[in-house]
Amino acid sequence: MELIQSLIDSTALGVLYALVAMGIGLIFGVMRLVNFAHGELITVGAYTLFMTKAYPGAVRVGAALAVVLLVALLMEFLYRPLRGATAATMLVATFAVSFVLQNALLLVFGPQGASIDFLPALNRAVEIGELRIRWITIIAVAVGGAILGAMMWLLGKTTVGLQIRAAAADFRTAQILGVRAGFVIRLAFAIGGLLAGVVTLVLAVQRPLVTPTYGFLVLVPALVGVVVGGLGRLLPATLGGFVIGFATVALGDILPSGSRVFLNSLLFALVIVVLLVRPDGLFARRAGVAERV
């Protein structure tokens, strides 16, 4: 029974990290840019929930998603001059945006943390036999799973998805076929933003205290997941995010309580082993011919 409990909790965090990883992977796919400021989308969303405390839940959800989407599109606008720049330039620029946002939030809200108070009732558990599952866990798995499925459909079956995949696989060739470069990049940021918005909503229930590094602390493991899965392609990157989230909870459950302080050390040691054995990523196919989305 403990095993099933652990599996469910692991899956819930895995799905959450998968959503973050997919956002990062989408933007990397079409722009070759690792957006270190992706975590700040989550932070901004969480502060929006904090700021709208006085309003009904639906208004707060709408406001958080709208603000995150807007900030994602603003980031796209900021990064526009970087198209075609070197990887190092892009990396430094996104770091800069991340730090500016973090410090701006620090100036406005201070370092202590603010209580989001968003649907706390969802933290109550529902008992199924001996299993105790929190409502938010069920919602995270269901909503996250549905969104991941919808994304697969969008990318695999629609013309818009085909354009995103083509741009990710070979940007120049996609352009000479008439794929609008600006459109697919904006779309990737918009979708990445919405995915971050959904992550914010789930996270806000589970972790109700928002600080300026709220999203950054989620971004780091998700980004590690992206690298472990394989940065160059969307599905492996998303799976990598899932694996890291899943492994974090599973390892935490396996380790004796006294050793849990070593959880991150153990996790990153495993990551290093994976990258030594499979430097292109756990789920990467042979290099060169791989489709990037």
Partner: protein, 236 residues
């Protein structure tokens, strides 16, 4: 008389700080094939890339249908009606043949898709035969056909081809040129960059020879048998 559909007017292109194309003047009319030959590094591919908006021109003008397209994005140029078969085919190997073709149809209104596709499938039966197959699983010749089919299904008024015969067996090359003749006869303006000089000179309405970024000679089909003149134009 109105201007030919594609006009390069005193075009110069810098490539990585080096002057790759200098003062190039060239015209392609509807239903014409114009060849562009010359040694490696002569500036042929750079010329095609700059027409497509993938390389910025340093000076001069590129006009399509009488309007300057300099500075436009490659996707905007594609939607105007210029199709390109890039060097190395650049099909999407992990996509199905159908998905590759759907990308080619992007720039056309949906109501035209069926007619466009029917015509291209007649020219390239390989497309319908392997419709659901992964494009990377096709042979080299079939992939080249797919690359041309993908460019043609967008019904371009100008077709730019960068070394389409590269890596193909002689029999397949003959078929390729027969197909290009059909495309030309349909009124498409074809600008053909090739290494196979003799074949190109005999096939094209006229063939320009480029060397060190400059146009140094223009040959007609009647020069195809004159190897001395061709060699002189090619190597100086």
């Amino acid at each position: 008389m109105s201007e030919p559909i594609l006009v390069l007017d005193d075009l110069s292109v810098d490539y990585g700080g080096v002057s790759a194309v200098r003062g190039l003047n060239l015209e392609v009319g509807a239903g014409e094939v114009v060849g562009l030959i010359g040694p490696n590094g002569a500036g042929k591919s750079t010329t095609l890339l700059s027409i497509m908006g993938l390389e910025r021109s340093a000076s001069g003008d590129i006009r399509f249908d009488g309007l300057s397209i300099v500075g436009e994005s490659p996707d905007a140029i594609a939607r105007r009606g210029i199709g390109m078969v890039p060097e190395g085919r650049r099909i999407f190997p992990d996509f199905s043949v159908a998905e590759n073709m759907r990308l080619g149809m992007l720039r056309r209104p949906a109501r035209k898709h069926r007619a466009d596709l029917e015509w291209v499938e007649q020219l390239f039966p390989v497309v319908s035969r392997f419709w659901s197959r992964q494009a990377g699983a096709l042979s080299g010749g079939q992939q080249q056909q797919l690359a041309i089919a993908r460019a043609l299904v967008g019904a371009p008024r100008v077709l730019l081809l960068d070394e389409p015969s590269l890596g193909l067996a002689p029999g397949v090359i003959d078929t390729l040129f027969e197909t290009l003749a059909v495309v030309r006869d349909r009124g498409v303006a074809v600008l053909l960059v090739e290494q196979r000089a003799q074949l190109t000179v005999s096939f094209a309405n006229r063939t320009h020879v480029m060397r060190n970024g400059e146009l140094v000679a223009t040959l007609g089909p009647e020069d195809a048998g004159d190897t001395g003149r061709m060699a002189h134009a090619y190597f100086g």
